[in-house]
């Protein structure tokens, strides 16, 4: 804040300096008077510029941006998506035998879920459960959400399939 005020005052002083220089250089006459008027107007504009900028920014900012502060709307989308995925992961972790779960977003409504289980679990049931969890957290219909589930459990890692 103080640096902003400092910059503002600095720019004002520079304008005053240049204006005085112009007054010294210009010959006496009509031109000098008009130049004086223009310099005065420029000075006025520079003085109210910060207030103008502030009002402008407040008007044009959507509510979501005001929440997040400076940033783009994509930023806000990403935050919301991350939160939705985190909630879905937490729900999957409540499923019996599940040790860890990591969901990533591919593109519109396509997700990949890496799930580690303690023992063998029916992957169809698990997939339905994950789809339901994602549907709940994103607020969509369950058959709109597409999930590719990669299940990893001890028995599958112990004996590598030929």
């Amino acid at each position: 804040m103080m640096t902003l005020i400092g910059h503002w005052v600095k720019s004002l002083i520079i304008i005053v300096l240049l204006g005085n220089l112009a007054q010294f250089v210009l010959p006496k006459g009509d031109l000098k008077r008009y130049a004086g008027l223009i310099i005065g107007l420029v000075l006025l504009l520079a003085m109210i510029a910060p207030a103008w900028g502030l009002i402008h920014r407040l008007e044009n900012q959507p509510a979501s941006m005001r929440l997040l502060g400076p940033g783009s709307s994509g930023n806000f989308q990403a935050v919301v998506q991350q939160e939705q995925i985190g909630q879905a992961e937490a729900m999957v972790l409540n499923y019996p035998q599940v040790v860890s779960c990591h969901i990533t977003y591919n593109n519109s409504d396509h997700y990949t879920a890496d799930v580690k289980t303690r023992s063998l679990v029916s992957s169809e049931t698990l997939k339905t459960y994950i789809m339901a969890a994602l549907a709940v957290s994103t607020g969509r219909n369950q058959n709109q959400v597409k999930v590719r589930v990669v299940v990893e459990h001890p028995s599958s890692s112990k004996k590598p399939s030929p």
Binding site: M2, I5, G6, V9, L12, I13, I15, V16, L17, G19, N20, Q23, F24, G36, I39, G40, L43, M47
Partner: protein
């Protein structure tokens, strides 16, 4: 019969155990024992480090003050402070007088130039240019000395904050030790908060605003065609309003909290003493007397710590304030003396510098006064709880 005997023996034993605490120990030994238990070394070290730039002054340590007070002697002879201040005044006058001499020389030159150019060139453009050149040299000198003063104020604020941060914990511990638990609990967060708030606001808001206002003012004197003097006024007003509001808030909060804590502590101490006196059968009186002695001795220590803090603040603040005051007076003198020469910019510049020094003086003084009052308010509020 046998049971009776044991009760009597127990009572005699308790009297024998407690009475030395209450009566045989003088306040001297009590204070000495307490003093060995609390650690004042860090405070003493900090104080001696802060007062280091003024070698002729010796701020007494906590134990020295306690010793002097117990033997009815004056712990801090004021003569040394006064003689040091007189020396500092002499040194500052010599140093700043040189700057004033240069300024006088410049303004006489400016007056000569403007008269000469008047006779050579009738349009007055040349005179303007000459005046501008002289005023720019003057502004360079003035800004340099303002920068020195600003750095000094900054440094002083940092020093005082360090002092308060090493003083407050000790003061709070001793406050709780003399029975004022509620006051200690109330004061601790408030004191830490206010010290840091005042320091941060002054350093990063009030001082820069005053600096900006001074620069804008000086530019206005240098280039009088498009002047933005009212902006300077606005900036300065903002800074000083901030400081004034802070001071009002601070004084109000300190006064109210101080009296509230003192009342609560007074009540709890008195009830404690009454309970011990009436309900502990034989040794109740001895017990409450011992309690009183211990509280009294730690109150003595606490007052000694506060005296050290207040003295250090006075010593730290006195020299910069005197330097600022001398600068202000000399700039005023310069403004008064250069006015008859008839060069407009010079005397306005000197006047602005004098005013800016005055503002710096006011800011430093009020911050120091706040910290000083904080120490004294804490001291009197907690002494008021009294036994």
């Amino acid at each position: 019969m046998r049971k009776h005997f044991w009760v009597v023996m127990l009572a005699i034993g308790m009297i024998g155990f407690f009475s030395p605490v209450a009566f045989a120990q003088s306040i001297n030994t009590l204070v000495q024992r307490q003093q060995q238990n609390i650690n004042t070394q860090s405070l003493d070290h900090q104080v001696s480090q802060l007062v280091n730039p003024y070698p002729q002054i010796h701020v007494p340590t906590v134990s020295e003050i306690v010793f002097a007070l117990l033997h009815h002697r004056n712990p801090f002879p004021l003569n040394t402070l006064f003689s040091a201040i007189t020396q500092a005044v002499g040194g500052d006058l010599a140093q700043e007088g040189r700057v004033l001499g240069i300024i006088f020389l410049l303004s006489v030159l400016a007056a000569l130039l403007s008269r000469l150019s008047d006779s050579v060139d009738q349009s007055g453009n040349l005179a303007d240019l000459a005046q501008m050149a002289v005023v720019s040299a003057l502004i360079l000198i003035a800004l340099h000395s303002f920068g020195v003063a600003l750095a000094m104020v900054h440094h002083l604020l940092t020093d005082i904050v360090h002092l308060m941060e090493s003083l407050i914990p000790l003061l709070i511990v001793l406050m709780a030790g003399s029975g004022e638990v509620a006051s200690a609990g109330i004061f601790h967060p408030i004191m830490m908060l206010t010290v840091n708030l005042v320091a941060v606001l002054t350093r990063s808001w009030v001082l820069p605003l005053v600096l900006l206002a001074t620069i804008v003012d000086l530019v206005g004197h240098w280039l009088p065609n498009f002047s933005i003097k009212n902006l300077a006024l606005l900036l300065r007003q903002t800074g000083l309003t901030l400081l004034g509001g802070l001071m009002t808030l601070f004084l109000g909060v300190m006064a109210v909290e101080g009296s509230a804590g003192a009342v609560a502590d007074g009540v709890s101490l008195r009830t404690g003493k009454f309970l011990a006196n009436t309900f502990v059968p034989v040794v109740g009186k001895a017990f409450s007397d011992a309690m009183e002695a211990v509280f009294g001795s730690s109150m003595l220590l606490k007052n000694a710590v506060s005296v050290v803090g207040a003295l250090t603040i006075i010593v730290l603040v006195a020299f910069p304030l005197i330097k600022l005051f001398i600068m202000m007076i000399l700039y005023r003198l310069g403004a008064a003396a250069t006015e008859p020469l008839g060069v407009q910019g010079v005397n306005k510049t000197l006047e602005t510098m004098a005013t800016a020094m005055g503002w710096l003086l006011a800011i430093t003084g009020s911050v120091a006064l706040m910290f000083f009052l904080m120490i004294t308010v804490v001291l009197t509020a907690s002494n008021g709880a009294g036994l």
